[in-house]
Point group: D2
Chain length 289, copies 4
């Protein structure tokens, strides 16, 4: 006996298509709306289809304007319309749902889960993020990563794997952090280390700087002391890690790289969302396959 086996995916981009493919392989009955793929079951009547589903999956982020579902193809129904079709026996998934929409879910007493809040999703997303960093580096330099001097700011999940991979490719990696324990951990792994507050003194040594710290640690003092041809890549989130006003004024080459997983590896990113949804369903005893 199957339970909660019928999924409707509303909106999104390629990731949702790959997620759909993955969920079908896992045994779900999947239909899509606001997405196009010749192999997938497309929904004509959204209202009826929601009625006939157990699970509704919204994209990542759910909405960019708070009113409409974020989607490559336009969706004529807005969020309020869609919510009016959803009864409280449905299970809802979304990524970065946001306060406004969350309140609407609560008001309707809906059962919902934000898959983006899950630690395993964050952990798994480090892998496509690091591949994205590699891609951005390789496409922006005309020399080799091997033998390059690369500074990595921060020593969290993304920074650790990035540093490991760059070292394996042959770069000379300097980990820049504020906490003593991060610096010691980096030294144990045989990285060079530098306290962020002292970085401006050695900044002219680096070909590439990668920032993962969501705080403007790469300040004017540093920007004034780097090489002309230094490439700065910022993969942090708001408020971001670079003093962009100064960078612009000084003519520094700084690349902002948000949301790398969906851009460089939508297939992997989609599967990760699918796996996370299944993890949640299992934990909550909501799924019988």
């Amino acid at each position: 006996m199957k339970k909660n086996n019928r999924i409707i995916i509303i909106g999104g981009d390629n990731r949702q298509l790959y997620m759909a493919e993955y969920l079908i392989k896992t045994g779900f009955d999947v239909s899509i709306y606001g997405l196009i793929d010749s192999d997938l079951k497309y929904v004509d009547n959204l209202k009826n289809s929601i009625k006939n589903s157990d699970i509704i999956v919204f994209p990542l982020p759910v909405s960019k304007d708070g009113k409409n579902i974020n989607s490559t193809l336009p969706i004529k129904e807005n969020i309020d319309d869609i919510l009016s079709y959803i009864d409280d026996d449905k299970i809802i998934f979304g990524g970065i749902i946001g306060k406004g929409i969350e309140n609407k879910f609560k008001k309707k007493n809906l059962r919902y889960y934000d898959y983006f809040c899950r630690e395993e999703m964050t952990l798994k997303n480090t892998v496509p993020t690091v591949q994205g960093i590699l891609k951005v580096i390789i496409e922006n330099i005309d020399y080799t990563i091997h033998s390059s001097e690369i500074a990595v700011f921060g020593y969290g999940r993304v920074a650790k794997i990035t540093s490991d991979v760059l070292l394996a490719i042959g770069a000379k990696v300097t980990v820049c952090a504020r906490k003593k324990s991060d610096l010691v951990s980096a030294e144990i792994k045989k990285f060079n280390s530098c306290n962020i507050k002292d970085f401006y003194k050695i900044s002219n040594k680096f070909n590439i700087i990668i920032n993962t710290v969501p705080d403007p640690v790469i300040d004017r003092n540093i920007l004034e002391n780097i090489r002309n041809d230094c490439l700065i890549i910022d993969v942090s989130s708001a408020p971001y890690g670079i003093d962009f006003a100064s960078a612009h004024e000084l003519g520094v080459k700084a690349v902002q790289c948000p949301s790398l997983p969906g851009k460089v590896a939508p297939k992997t990113a989609g599967i990760i969302i699918g796996e996370t949804i299944i993890d949640i369903l299992k934990e909550e005893n909501l799924w019988i396959s």
Copy 2:
């Protein structure tokens, strides 16, 4: 007292400009012809400039048609013209000189060196080649290298570093070779291994196949058994490693990638040529800096 310090670089591409920069840093007096760079000394009168040089550096390859120097900018003098300006006290460097031009050098009794024949150059070029392979992979897939099944054909220099780097990024790497000793060596490094003649039996397992063997080892038998979405990258030299006729007929995605170093990392490739020239000068006691 300096000796053989004046270099003229004739023809080529960006690599020659980076090489020029490197040679200047190392202490040489460098001028260029058939190349443009605002920071470098450009030659107007080629004949005079050759007279006033100790060393003449031709590009890689020296010529594509056997008559003219290979160059991004057109050079009005042909090879015979240029040779007529060169006295036998000059030292000539070129990459892949070729029999025809070599005979002209010999007839004029010129002292010449083919830097492309040097083992250290081949070894060093593996590094930008592997970066090129990474670039081609990342730009042709929408999933992560991490967790992908990748087969590497051959176990020479490029294949070894490629396998190491892909493993470090998290791929599952299978080394495919013909020699028992290569297979055992790969197993010691904890790669999976497969004799090339048995590969067709497991070929449908792989997302990516990278070939380094200059011999059509990826034959129709294999091509018929791979996945639809398998990406094949061939970095070997003539006669190349894929049965391209069958690949074309079967609609297989096969990417031919010759000469990666100059394409993905011209700066590094140029410096490698510069280093090799200096190595040769030192070995032959031709240089006093």
Copy 3:
């Protein structure tokens, strides 16, 4: 102008001698008591020497019985005697001071620091601990680590480095943990992973089990299912990770390995204590060299 430059080291073992050597190199004036080394300044009159010192360093642990200083050579003065010589202008260091002695320090209003509580010390000690694990493994097996199936219980600091090193040597490493996030992190690094509660089902696959969890996770259920020749190494602290009663009864080969750093690398362990003391002095602005 130097400040707090005179150190007396009381009690301990080889680590304290190596620490002394390191502190002398760093610029301190060091004397020792209850230790013997031909190159170091030995103290005859403890009372006077304490008066003439700025800093007093006790060993790790400070005491095993709460009354006497832990020392290879016997020290005739007990802790109360020694405390009676110490004025409140002195700076005291000790490792695992313990409540009883701490209260005595407090009563006398002394300034004291437990260097063993410092995170950088714990972090740095992972390195000699892992070397100790390697040593215990190599000395207890007659086959190679390479190709062995090794389970590592826990995924904290020691477990992570141990797993990395064993993988680099060629072992097949399975990380066993309870937290989903630890299992996912291990999978990202391409380790096999297993929830501790399911381990008994696959336990007969392993040649070696290394435990870092201070909780009897290796229970009778597991012990009954391992191979006859399985080697179990426990490097956790009390209450330790193995059901030793069952292990004994079942004739399992289980090696208890506390305090590896001091045993396998006393020199490194001593230097780490010295570095930690200097870190504390710097942070507290107590040292001018």
Copy 4:
């Protein structure tokens, strides 16, 4: 139908017992002579047992004196006695057979194979050799390999894996070789490199020197310039890599480590011999299992 399935193992040490166990698991009918193990079939009448066997396996080396089989337990029959029992339909295996015994085999027109000459055996033996080097290092130092300065002489099979493993453990590794191509290869892998002829200039920097070159490259000039506490490990074969007379005179700590596989990992070493014998049987179409 089985062919050549009956094996008699004559002489040797623990390795032969592990080899026997491995061959039994693979499907052979195995008996032993001059060895003791409660689980294995022991031969009483050597002459009859040889008659009833297809394959005779001698140890590694076959003989130390040219007259008797090398064995932990004494064997009363000498080689000539044993040879008199062997008809020319038998298949003989031995490791380092030696000219004298080889001539006797030839004179009797026997079919024999020296398993020690096989490349896969040499390759596989690098793994236990490297483990042996690790063991010797760890047992002879009181500090960590991590952060140590280690020089590796030579860049052949053993040296490459040793360097990789030591780097993975956190050592600073300098590869010392004579060939330019070896030095460049080592630099590509991010090792430090040093031409052997220049090593004496930097030799006082190293904690540990490991030699794999069978030629006295560690000469008096180097020995006079190393640190007092430098540990030298020689794993090369005759004529060995150290000027031992000078080392002795200068009081240098030099450890000679021949035949590590059999000493540190007899089980693995025995299995490797067994695998090699099977490889040979397969290649020669001598075995039907």
